[in-house]
Every structure is written in C-alpha cells, then in structure tokens.
C-alpha cells in the first residue's frame, strides 16, 4: 500500500532523513522506532506533504505522492495525527471532529446549510468509538492532555483514511492512559481493518502491538522486519536497544 524508497530530506547541511525505506501492507500495524532526532517525525511530514522530499519516492497505491500538498494527500486516503497536539482549540470537541468528517464528505464548501445538522451521526460514532462522546460540547482547548491526544486521533479518523499515521500517540501520557490508548489503536485496527503506521518510544508498547517494525537511526533505515527478527538483529541491539 505504501512504499517509501531511499527518501532524503536535508535542512541545510543537516541530513534529517537520509535514506529511509518503508513498506506498509494493507491491514498491517507498522511501527517506526528510533532514538530522539532519528527523523521519525520528519519522515511522517514527508509522507503527508507537510514537507517536500529532496530525493527518493513515496508511492501510495502505486502513485507517487511525493510532491502533493497535504490536502491532496489526505484526499488520497492518508490521515495523520501530530506529535504535539494539533487541534482546533476554540471549537468544541464535536466540531473538531466534524470539520474533518465534513471535509471527507466533500461538504466543506456548502454555504447556506446549517452545519449543526450535517454529518452528525458519523461524528458521534467516531466520538463514541474513542470514548469522547460525553465531552463533545467541551471547548477542545480545555481538555486534559490525554484527551487532546485522543481527540487528535479522532480528527484523523473523521477522514475515513485507508492509512492512518500516528506520530507518538502516547507522548506525555500516564502509563494507564498509554495502555488504554494502545488498546484503542489495536481495536481500531481490528474492528475497522485500518492500516496504521505509528512511531513510539515505549519498546514494550511497540513489540507488543506492531506486526512489522522499522528502525531508524540518524535519518537512515537500519532494518524493517517482524518484531522477533528486529529484536534479534545485532545492529539494532547495539545502536538502539542498548544490548537488551
């Protein structure tokens, strides 16, 4: 479904992504791991169009999406969440999700129809599936950190993506919140057959959930394989797992 080949992105002299390779098959749950500054977020920004690659290609369903603007990539079926909660703070929780549902249903340009009556069911369904339904009238900016991160995922779900990309979905969460969030992600993958690509620092979480793991270091892909294989790999153990 998604192929990334020899992708490179330089910021001046600094090689933030320097030869990333990635393969995501339909229905898989794929993790990207790597130390701080390895280039995980930059890689996701390249895939989703927030940044333009300098070299290499990004194929999504066989089509090169490397030069497309973010909104077109989203319309092709890739939705994402951000590492730092990236929501609409002045709007209600409901409206946060509704914005993406309306966009998905191509209703965003309607001028004289009350938005309050549109896409209500789909929006409520998403809020219910992530457990935010009872907070739907709260102003998004007033949510707790954990809820903001969940809302972040809910907004992405509003686009009914074929591929969902999550950048450290559990960053800054307490252990309990982390485990509920990961359960939520697994449930979404199973129930809705979502393909999910995520990155994460917590090794337990990664090895416990992912079906395929890609390891990045200094902008480069070291390996992508099944969790057991990755765990066995000596290069990974030296570079990242610290001889676990």
């Amino acid at each position: 479904m998604l192929y990334v080949r020899e992708l490179k992105k330089f910021f001046g002299d600094f090689k933030a992504v320097n030869g990333a390779n990635l393969k995501v098959e339909k229905g898989q749950l794929v993790a990207v791991i790597g130390p701080n500054g390895a280039g995980k977020t930059t890689l996701f920004n390249l895939i989703c169009g927030q940044l333009q690659p300098d070299r290499g290609e990004i194929l999504f369903n066989g089509e090169d999406i490397g030069r497309l603007p973010p909104y077109e990539i989203c319309r092709k079926g890739i939705a994402r969440s951000f590492q730092i909660a990236n929501i609409f703070p002045r709007l209600s929780v409901f409206r946060n999700v509704q914005v993406s549902v309306l966009s998905q249903q191509k209703l965003s340009n309607r001028l004289f129809q009350p938005a309050a009556r549109l896409a209500v069911e789909s929006t409520n369904r998403i809020l219910e599936s992530v457990g935010l339904l009872d907070k739907k009238l709260d102003v998004a900016g007033s949510l707790s950190h954990g809820d903001k991160r969940i809302l972040e995922i809910a907004i992405a779900l509003g686009n009914e993506p074929d591929l969902l990309i999550l950048d450290e979905p559990t960053a800054g969460m307490s252990p309990e919140e982390t485990s509920t969030t990961m359960k939520l992600i697994q449930r979404l993958a199973q129930e809705q057959g979502l393909t999910i690509l995520f990155c994460e620092h917590d090794m337990e979480v990664v090895f416990g959930t992912a079906q395929s793991i890609m390891v990045m270091q200094q902008g480069q892909t070291i390996i992508q394989d099944l969790p057991e294989e990755v765990r066995q790999n000596r290069e990974v153990q030296q570079a990242y797992l610290g001889g676990e």
Binding site: C48, G49, Q50, P69, P70, Y71, C74, R75, A79, R80, F82, N86, I87, F88, P89, R90, L91, R95, N96, Q98, V99, S100, L102, S103, Q104, L107, S108, N109, R110, L111, F112, Q113, P114, A115, A116, L118, I155, A156, G158, N159
Partner: protein
C-alpha cells in the same frame, strides 16, 4: 425550519431591536435618523470585515478599499451614465468582489502580517487612482450630489432601505458562518496546518471567504452612496480601514454581532468628538492600544457576567473572613 437555527434568546432581542429601529425615524430628529443610517452602513462594512478577520483569522488590513470600489463603481454609474439605477446596485458589489478576488490572489500566498502589508500596498494603488484620475473620479474632491432614484432619496426612505438591506445581509452572514463553509473557515483560523491535513484546501477556502467579504463591503459601499449622495477618495484611504478593524476588535471579533456594536461606538465617537478635533487618528490609536491591553476579545467577547460573579464571590468570601 430556518428559524430554529438562530439562538432563541438573541433572536428575541434582535426582533425587538428591529421593531424599535423601524419606528425610530417617526420619533427622533432627522439628523439622528441620518446618523443611524450611517451606523447601519458602517456596521455592514465591519461585519463583512469580521468574516475574514475574526472568523477567518486573516489580517485584512485594507478592507476599506473594497467599500470604496463598491461606492465608486456604483456612484459613477449613477452619476455619469444613463443606465438604470439597479445596475449600479449590482455592479458595485460585484466590482468589489472582483477586486477582492484579484488582490486576494496575490496576498493569499503570504502569511499573516505580510498578507496585510501587501494588501495595504495594493489597496493604496487604488486609492491613488481615485485620487488622481480627475476626469473620471473628480480627484480629491470626489463627486457630490449623485442622483439617487427618487423612491430612496429622502432621508427616511434611504434609512429604511439601508435597514432592510442590512438585515438581509446579517441573516446571510449568519447562515454562512453557521454553514460547513463557515465552520471550516473558523477551523482554518484556529489551525491552518491541521485543516490542510484533514483535506481542506486552505488558500482556496480563504480566498473564497475574501470574495464573500468584499462583496458585502461593496454592498455597504453602494448604500453609502445612497445615504451620502457622494463619493470621495477617503473611502479608500487606510484610516478608514483602520477604523473598521478597530470596530471589530472593540465589539468582539470572535462574536457574531460584536462589529455592529463596535461600529455604533466608533461612528458616534467620530460624529460627536471627531468634528471637534484634528486628532481623530490619534484617538483611534489610543483606543486600539487600550483594547489590546484591557479587552483583547472586545466588548461582547468579554464575559462581564463571569467577572462580576467571581468579583462578588470574592467580595462575599472576604466579608465572611
């Protein structure tokens, strides 16, 4: 069906106010009828600006230009051609919207303050044209005594025309704001990056909002001609743009009706204070500074009730001690 999307409480207040304004000209002196008409025109102008400033998050610094274009195009058609009057009423707003589209096309590529700065420079070019093209525009004197169709030329009939058109435009603006388009526009204001990531073409959406806003500015422009019977280059001058920007900030730029209140305050100040002093722009500057420091969300955005409650609670608590 349509009615129940308006909030119940403010709907009652609005209807009451509307009835009051309907009977006002029968009671108040002619001069105040005129001032009210000026306030209505300015309120429409400020409301149109707030669509892109308060709800769209764009630094539309030179909105007066589109008002001026609407007034000039409409006024020139009435004064210099034999076309029927309604042509002026249609051509004014359309010319304003086309100008808004063209200027917007250039500015929209830039971000935030740069957007506003480019708009000021491009807008000033139009001001120069109005100021210098003496044969067509009457230069710095402008054109006075523009022939207004008879049925709206008296001060009462023009008052009613302006009031009715204002109400129609307010309803339209409200519907737009509550529509999916308006919802997406507010989301863009809050977080453009995220909007792009959920599949919204941010620049196109903002440009569409500018075209709508400038169209309504053009409507205000032609209404100005009806009320004043004249056009002059100050309509396109940056001071006016600053005034309407302050009206939005003052009234409450995240609220729907705030700019109307802002327009009423500023127009009254300008009428009753501005005529006694040359320092009108200085006063405006001071108002702006006070606003930024003490009322960043404007009069209507400020939650007086909550402040009062917390103040009285504190007072009660300290009296218990």
């Amino acid at each position: 069906m349509l009615l129940n999307i308006f909030p119940q409480k403010s709907f009652g207040v609005s209807v009451g106010l509307f009835i009051l304004l309907l009977i006002a000209p029968a009671i108040i002196p002619k001069f105040y009828t005129y001032i009210l008409a000026v306030i209505f025109v300015t309120a429409l102008l400020a409301m149109s600006l707030n669509l892109v400033v308060g709800h769209g998050g764009l630094f539309q610094f030179h909105h007066g230009v589109f008002y001026g274009v609407g007034a000039y195009v409409g006024g020139l058609i009435l004064a210099k051609t034999s076309l029927p009057w309604w042509v002026a009423f249609i051509a004014g707003p359309i010319a304003a919207a086309v100008t808004g589209f063209l200027i917007g096309l250039f500015c929209i590529r830039l971000n935030r303050l740069y957007f506003g700065m480019l708009q000021i420079s491009l807008g000033s070019l139009l001001w120069v044209i109005a100021f210098r093209w003496y044969d067509l525009t009457g230069g710095d004197d402008g054109i006075h005594g523009i022939p207004i169709p008879e049925f709206i030329s008296s001060s009462k009939s023009s008052y009613y025309l302006v009031l009715i058109i204002l109400c129609i435009c307010l309803i339209l603006l409200y519907l737009i704001l509550k529509s999916p388009f308006g919802s997406a526009l507010q989301a863009i204001r809050d977080n453009p990056e995220r909007c792009a990531a959920v599949g919204i073409n941010v620049r196109r959406h903002q440009l569409a909002a500018i075209v709508i806003a400038t169209f309504f500015a053009g409507v205000a422009g032609i209404l100005f001609v009806v009320v004043e019977g004249s056009i002059f280059p100050e309509l396109l001058f940056w001071v006016l743009s600053l005034e309407i920007f302050i009206m939005c900030l003052l009234g409450g730029w995240f609220t729907f009706a705030g700019p109307i209140l802002g327009a009423a305050v500023i127009v009254s100040l300008r009428t009753f204070v501005g005529t006694y002093t040359e320092y009108w722009t200085l006063i405006l500057g001071v108002i702006l500074i006070l606003l930024i420091f003490f009322l960043p969300e404007g009069l209507m955005g400020y939650n007086f009730l909550a402040k009062f409650r917390s103040w009285s609670k504190r007072a009660a608590a300290s009296s218990v001690d």
